[in-house]
Assembly symmetry: C2
Homo-oligomer: 328 residues x 2
DNA sequence: CTGAAAGCGCTTACAG
DNA sequence: CTGAAAGCGCTTACAG
């Protein structure tokens, strides 16, 4: 591999001068500049990032920790991050936890060792150990999807989105509305979305039968099973169901169809996510668009701002948009 | 940050000895070992990967170049790669081309500069410039999805999969079978899948009306439009259509429904992909499962084998599996 | 079994 | 405007 030393020799200058030329730092005479430029073009020399990192302590790499890589939400967030970072010549070092909370913590250390310039964490929980770890990282860090005190975060407006979609069901004449949620250690998807649902129900003085509220995990099959529990355990059947993710809703619809129930005539279904497919299931799904690419983009912007010490907001609350289709 | 020098001082040994201890290379006496171990545990010292890389020329990072990050296929491949690499302590440096062929080439250089230990390229074409670049990389490299001479590759059996699914349509009594493909510069998805289709049609001596064969790009809407072209331009309507990807098929079904045509009664639909959603569209889609996670896993294994100079195969042909559902 | 020294490829005060 | 020198945090022959 070609090094700065060889370039310097070929151009008849010192390494310092080549370095100055490369980084546009300090003066380099016109003649020297020309000679160096020529040599670099001829040889195709590219400086070693590692040597550079060792000196400057900058790597132009951002670590991204994800709970899972193969969902649409994750990949859109990563796409958003990547697009924004690429503009500034940064790259992504990926760390996939596979929903293992222990790894979420481990990866924070691992990425630090790799000397990333910053970390974007797509968080699934706000357990104390994780929060503490994040706060002690001493490295630019941005959280997506959860709020942690003292940490820059990009969050979805789970409470209001959830409330709005429940309100929409009420507007459409529904009074008996079931709910498929997830575990509340996930503050955003679990806790706040449930809270939004209850808030809407309370304001309309609608009763919530305990069997209407079921907890699932993040896959289609789990939505199917939750819907089954709702139908089999309830003495009074709901006329609508709000599932906190599209996949859960799709699972629920799949069970309803199997039972010969019509959506939305017998039971209306709504959810949050606006996955590409939500348009193409039958009937098409009424859902909320969370602008995941925007979340990634904003997180990238924030981390870049922290690194360059320009201004940034500690908390960015993202917009959402209700998409009305045929499942309600 | 703590360095090896400080650890050495604290443990009363030289840096060399600490290094030997860390890497299990060469002798370290029991006493020295104990002292070093103690100091490291107490301080939580972690060696700098950059300094290490600078010396050893190894980074434990594999660059992964993807045409796009937000499709199910991509994310499954990445998940497969990641799982396998993580076992050996390797990480992924992500490079997303957004389907820009120019970037595919640029990123090869960029990743090389980043000193990755190897590159996995999820390729979309086999244009000469790219192939030449890959062959000249002089760095462990594995291609997924395309075959390039002299380059280790993990490929899907596009020709046979395509032929088999066409044969299946014929078995089901279809004689007039349309085809929605993509541009043939994508050898795998474009060229070989089309070839498989023609091969099956020829062997059964079935005629292919030129208006039945349409070219699309990789999104749902494009499948919708291609189906529209088939129906509006054909004097003889097909009774079945084979789309080369699930998304294309879903777009096609969406147009058919809009026209009041029934799937599969009026027109049967089949495709390749086995995306999660293919089960949940209505009717559920007959498709081919390509084991994308396995592709990623195999590619990761290959690259690790190349790096460690153990045996590896130059070409791995993956299995596929026909999934028979209700759209045919 | 251990340590001194050189070197990996850069950048950055500093002196001129 | 330029170069010599030190240093970033490691590893690796080599000598003892």
């Amino acid at each position: 591999m070609l090094t700065i030393k060889e370039i310097a020799e070929m151009a008849n200058v010192s390494r310092s001068t080549v370095s100055r030329f490369l980084n546009d730092s300090g003066y380099v005479s016109e003649e020297a500049r020309k000679r160096i430029d020529k040599v670099i073009k001829e040889t195709g020399y590219i400086p070693s990032e590692h040597a550079k990192s060792l000196r400057t302590k900058k790597t132009k790499v951002i670590g991204v920790i994800l709970p899972t890589i193969h969902t649409e939400t994750s990949s859109k967030i990563v796409a958003g991050i990547d697009n924004e970072l690429a503009k500034q010549g940064y790259q992504i070092l990926l760390a996939n936890t596979n929903l293992d909370k222990e790894k979420e913590i481990e990866y924070l250390d691992l990425l630090k060792v790799r000397q990333v310039d910053g970390i974007i964490l797509v968080a699934t929980n706000t357990e104390e150990r994780l929060v503490k770890k994040v706060q002690e990282m001493n490295l630019p860090i941005v959280i997506i999807g959860q709020h942690m005190p003292g940490v820059t975060s990009v969050v979805y407006d789970d409470f209001h989105a959830s409330k709005e979609i429940t309100n929409y069901l009420v507007e459409k004449g529904h009074k008996k509305i079931a709910f498929i949620g997830v575990d509340e250690t996930d503050r955003s998807v679990g806790y706040f979305r449930k809270k939004g649902y209850y808030s809407a129900m309370n304001e309309h003085r609608l009763e919530v039968n305990s069997t209407w509220v079921q907890t699932a995990i993040f896959d289609i099959d789990s939505g199917y099973k939750a819907m089954k529990r709702i139908l089999t355990k309830s003495s009074i059947l709901p006329t609508a169901v709000f599932a906190v993710t599209d996949r859960l809703a799709i699972g629920a619809m799949s069970y309803l169809k199997e039972q010969g129930l019509l959506v939305p005539d017998d039971i209306a279904v709504a959810s949050i996510g606006a996955s590409e497919i939500s348009r193409y299931v039958d009937p098409s799904l009424t859902t909320v668009d969370y602008h995941n690419e925007m979340a990634g983009k904003q997180a990238a912007k924030q981390i870049l701002a922290i690194i360059s010490k320009t201004e940034y907001q500690e908390k960015i609350l993202l917009n959402y948009r209700l998409i009305i289709r045929n499942s309600v």
